[in-house]
């Protein structure tokens, strides 16, 4: 396969994923401007309105309403706020923590590596979802504990990948050359090694944002995230499950939103990775 075709294919993927993520991001930032209704306003006359193309729909409620008569689209738009917030803060924390430890383990080797690798092994022995529920139970429900839980659990993904990649780079002659020139370890790690491990980090970061969105949704679903009043995608899915026979759209729309967002994050990461890699570029 020639490189032009690879570039074009990853280009289309990158653009489609980027487009959806941009929509989600704009929805999160401009939710009050975009939402047609107040996401919390209940109206029992309007309960379980169907989406716009079906009989019995009301204008102003394009995706219909839930069992309390709240506008579904508005709730999804406001739910994007939580999703984006969690995606960025949790994934970025996991990324920074894991990458830093991975760089140190991979570049220093020896004791530092042994200690860090052992911790990673122990960490990864816990089933992640159980670990998350346990952590939130200890930290108390709420958004901050969801974010902390994701960072605390998932830094190991970054650590493993960055460590392995750093070890490969550390053996390269250009690192030896930098050492001969007299650069210190930190300088070498940050300005020589880091640019070379950045492509996998970026791909993982994007993937991790998707994971953070899912984990938040799961925790909302089991009612361990923020208070149920605030719309979250996981919370809407939980409510939708209860009225699946009367109003399928309450379940389907948030599920599709969640799916597209998570898929876009992972595809965006893959696309960026090949874009970043100077040899593939």
């Amino acid at each position: 396969m020639d490189s032009a075709r690879i570039t074009r294919r990853s280009g289309a993927r990158l653009w489609l994923a980027g487009f959806w993520l941009a929509l989600v991001f704009i929805a999160a930032v401009a939710a009050p401007l975009l939402a047609p209704q107040d996401p919390l306003a209940q109206d029992l006359l309007y309960e379980r309105l169907p989406p716009f193309w079906m009989n019995g729909s009301e204008s102003g409620y394009p995706l219909g309403t839930d069992s309390l008569g709240r506008d579904l689209l508005s709730r999804l738009i406001y739910g994007a706020r939580i999703a984006v917030l969690v995606a960025f803060t949790a994934a970025l924390s996991a990324c920074v923590l894991g990458s830093a430890l991975g760089l140190i383990a991979g570049y220093y080797g020896g004791w530092a590596d042994r200690i860090i690798s052992r911790i990673v092994d122990i960490w990864m022995a816990f089933p992640p979802v159980l670990f998350a529920i346990l952590l939130v139970a200890v930290l108390g429900t709420g958004l901050h504990s969801v974010i902390i839980a994701i960072a605390v659990i998932d830094w190991t993904r970054f650590c493993r990948v960055v460590r392995a990649e750093t070890m490969v780079q550390a053996r390269m002659d250009y690192i030896e050359n930098a050492r001969i020139a007299g650069f210190g370890r930190w300088r070498i790690m940050l300005s020589e090694v880091l640019p070379n491990v950045l492509p996998p980090i970026v791909a993982l970061l994007s993937l991790e944002m998707g994971i953070a969105v899912i984990v938040e949704a799961i925790l909302s679903f089991v009612n361990l995230s923020i208070s149920t009043d605030d719309p979250t995608w996981g919370g809407i899915i939980a409510e939708g499950r209860l009225s699946i026979h009367q109003a399928w759209w309450i379940l389907v729309f948030p599920l599709v939103t969640l799916f597209l967002t998570v898929l876009s994050f992972s595809q965006f990461g893959e696309g960026l990775k090949s874009r970043f890699d100077p040899v593939l570029r």
């Binding site: 080797g109 020896g110 390269m172 002659d173 250009y174 030896e176 050359n177 050492r179 001969i180 020139a181 007299g182 650069f183 300005s191 020589e192 640019p195 070379n196 950045l198 100077p278 040899v279």
Partner: protein, 295 residues
């Protein structure tokens, strides 16, 4: 006698592996200022190890247990770690064997080269950039700006090696270790690169420790030679003397194995078993002596 100290003076250098076996067996050699000193020996003889030891980049599994290395009269052991790094950074450079892995693949050539200068010489970025452009011209790169903006994979092997040669000479080091700088290149490019190194060496008056296993190259480029076998110095002589009157049977065997120095039509002769037996005995004796001295 020359009153100036040697550019590089190594004496009794011994390095061991974790299992206690010696990689370098009490190596001594001297490189005078501005001369090219060739280090010859077959693969695994420890040539690169000597270079790494003096540049302070021995692999973690190899430990220097004895001997001294002096750069222009300054014993490296007498310096603290930071001062040693600074001295090595300022006075030495490496032209590596593989020009592909010796350049950082994800950084552009220009910043990669000028970083060194700003770090080693404390120059402002602008001055370093000018110097880089100057050096690229010196290694006959016609479009310096294109190369400065390029990533390593965009350049050919020969181009990369030119870049590395330019980088090595840029900070005006006193000593350059050239570790088989042409082995990874096409035969046609090899000659040009060799010529380039020789020319720059003469113009800049830089001493070079030239690692090679090619006696043809030794004859062409060096003023003095050290022949190494199994981490042990077999023979050390000015280049003309070595070729005129090789002292050790191993040196003679190496010459016989290099067609250019005998009749080119004659077949290559591997080092004879008698010579190898003699070398094995010498290594054995040296090891016994070392063991006696170290309990």
């Amino acid at each position: 006698m020359n009153a100036r100290p040697s550019c590089l003076s190594i004496s009794g250098l011994t390095a061991i592996l974790p299992n206690g076996s010696r990689v370098l067996r009490s190596v001594s050699l001297d490189v005078k200022p501005g001369e090219v000193h060739a280090l010859v020996g077959e693969s695994g003889a420890g040539k690169s190890m000597i270079g790494k030891a003096l540049l302070g980049v021995l692999p973690p599994s190899v430990r220097q247990v004895e001997g001294s290395i002096a750069l222009e009269g300054t014993e490296l052991e007498t310096l603290g770690a930071a001062a040693r790094r600074r001295l090595i950074g300022a006075r030495t450079a490496l032209i590596p064997q593989d020009p592909l892995t010796a350049l950082n693949p994800s950084r552009r050539i220009g910043p990669q080269m000028s970083d060194r200068l700003t770090h080693i010489l404390g120059w402002p970025a602008e001055r370093a950039r000018n110097r880089i452009r100057e050096m690229l011209a010196e290694v006959h790169i016609r479009e310096p700006d294109r190369v400065i903006a390029a990533y390593p994979h965009e350049l050919s092997g020969g181009m990369r090696q030119r870049v590395l040669i330019a980088a090595a000479f840029a900070a005006e080091p006193r000593l350059i270790v050239a570790d088989e700088p042409t082995t990874a290149l096409d035969v046609t490019v090899q000659k040009q690169i060799l010529r380039l190194i020789a020319d720059l060496q003469r113009q800049h008056g830089t001493a070079i420790l030239f690692v090679t296993h090619d006696l043809g190259v030794v004859a062409k480029i060096s003023q003095s030679v050290t022949v190494l076998y199994a981490g042990m110095v077999v023979e050390r002589a000015p280049t003309p003397a070595l070729f005129a009157t090789p002292q050790h049977a191993y040196t003679r065997a190496l010459m016989a194995a290099t067609p250019r120095y005998t009749d080119p039509a004659s077949s290559l002769q591997p080092v004879g078993s008698a010579v190898l037996a003699e070398l094995a005995l010498e290594v054995q004796n040296a090891d016994n002596e070392w063991k006696r001295a170290h309990g």
